[in-house]
């Protein structure tokens, strides 16, 4: 790791990236939270639309994580002589 820490903004960004990456994993590995049929939406049982919804949420999380990571890498490069 770069050792550029100390800056509160950098640490906050790192924490947010970690959360964004963990959230989709935890949500989908917590299987008991979605193994049910109701409510049905547009004919889709909950089990199916809920997981497909997480595909979209997961992609959004990664997009934000990407923007933050690019910013973090720029900070790291700027900090280096």
């Amino acid at each position: 790791m770069g050792g550029t820490g100390g800056d509160a903004k950098v640490w906050a960004a790192r924490a947010v990236v970690a959360v964004l990456l963990l959230v989709p994993c935890v949500a989908l590995l917590w299987v008991p939270s979605y193994t049910k049929v109701k409510p049905v939406v547009f004919g889709f049982p909950f089990f199916y639309w809920y997981q497909l919804l997480w595909v979209l949420i997961g992609a959004a999380c990664l997009a934000v994580a990407y923007v933050l990571t690019v910013w973090l890498e720029r900070q790291r490069k700027a900090a280096r002589p």
Partner: protein
Amino acid sequence: MSPGVVGADVDRVALVVFAALFLVVTVIGFMAARWRRAADLMHLDEWGLGGRSFGTFITWFLLGGDLYTAYTFIAVPALVFGAGAIGFFAVPYTVIVYPIIFVFLPRLWSVSHRHGYVTPADFVRGRWDSRALALAVAVTGILATMPYIALQLVGIQVVLETMGLGGDLPLIVAFAILAAYTYSSGLRAPALIAFVKDGLIYLVIAVAIIYIPTQIGGWGHIFAAASKHLASVNPKTHKPFGSLAIAPAGRWAYGSLALGSALALFMYPHCVTAVLSTKDRNVVRRNAAMLPAYSLVLGLIALLGYMAVAAGVKPAGGNAQLAVPELFHTMFPSWFAGVAYAAVGIGALVPAAIMAIAAANLFTRNVYREFIRPAATSAEEAHVSKVVSLVVKFGALVFVLGLDKSFAINLQLLGGIWILQTFPAIVFGLYTRWFHRHALLTAWAVAMIYGTRVAYGVPVPGKLHSHFGGPTAMVGLVHSKVYIALTAFVINVALAVVLTLVFRALRLPSGTDQTVDGDYLADVGDVAVGELPGLADEQAPPPAAAATSPDRSPA
């Protein structure tokens, strides 16, 4: 038996459309050698990694074409068709995989860029200074990839059969063409063909999920029909076929299949090959955010299994793998069925080509150069890889034609279990050198044997004394069935930790690390480390060597 299956008349219209599209990709495959032309294709960086030059856009198609294979498109809906909700694990699997790769693949890209590594085993060799561990990783990769290539052939075979083309000849012709253009164009061929493949897949799925439900009474009806079918009793096992949502007893199996598969995916050499062909560190991160588009498509493809149930498809011989092609045959006009078959057929070519290239690279770098001819020049490496890619494809063909198809399926199941056991040496190695190389090797061997034995002991439902009946086995600790790959992985890691402590206490030498901390964060523009000893007579420097602005941090 429904009409139009094996032995019935050939569907001429579908066949003509299929053949025309196949011809188009064949031309593209051969022309790819000139695309983004390199000065010298006889270099493994060029033939085997497309010049390490692919940007976000190309990589999105290439990885999409690579990860979501024809076999996936056949097997996932087949599982949903036959067993219901459990088959939908492909969705959480392909969601979880992206946060995982977002974290570690940029580091693998950087260190490989810095040291000119072509395969994951190259990295293992450099990081752990262990020829044996690198060989273990390379052999595991080749073993896991071979049956995967064979299953792509099965995917082509399935659509050929549905069109009424039985026999071995059409399959041999299709594969001979694939082998020829992979030989001449290398990774550029699948990269270019992936555009056609992914375009066709998106088109077919968009049409299928809009058109088919309107024909058979809407989504509500599809799920109702599936629910009714899944609740009925399977005459073979005397239990219901499955359920519409995972039953409490199946939760561990569902979650562990998703997690285990996600951890394993980027241990497959063909996935690493596609990643190392990118031009900078962030391409793979951008793609992690964009690739879930394919996961959505895969989720919808999985639901084709239920559509087949609702449409009353009865695949020949009860072979669930024919469910989706049969559904297309029943629901679509002939010409569009031809497009759909072509999507699956071409969908098999892209990953099969990349897998053959990846297996060939592993052999060349980690067996041939390491153990047979350490003085091999880069032109010789490229030549050996090209020849091996032919051998690999021929082997897969013999496999599918000569042996029982279930043998390939069993081996692919084992391949998934095996490949995950290379995770500690590769991914842990990207972060720490705390582990001892001998500990990693011993733990790998134990996990391989354990996983193989347990998988062998799983009977096929309803058949006593049968083997390789499924990917999950009972684990006493959680009183549930768990994905064998994940159980073996936990044993692997635990053993590696214990043995590392022991070997360190015994002061066994841990070798010299070729890499330094800064290598793992290097980006395009940072210099590559000088050539490895075996490559001293190299003519063309790798692309990175031309770059400037050194930023090596002290070791």
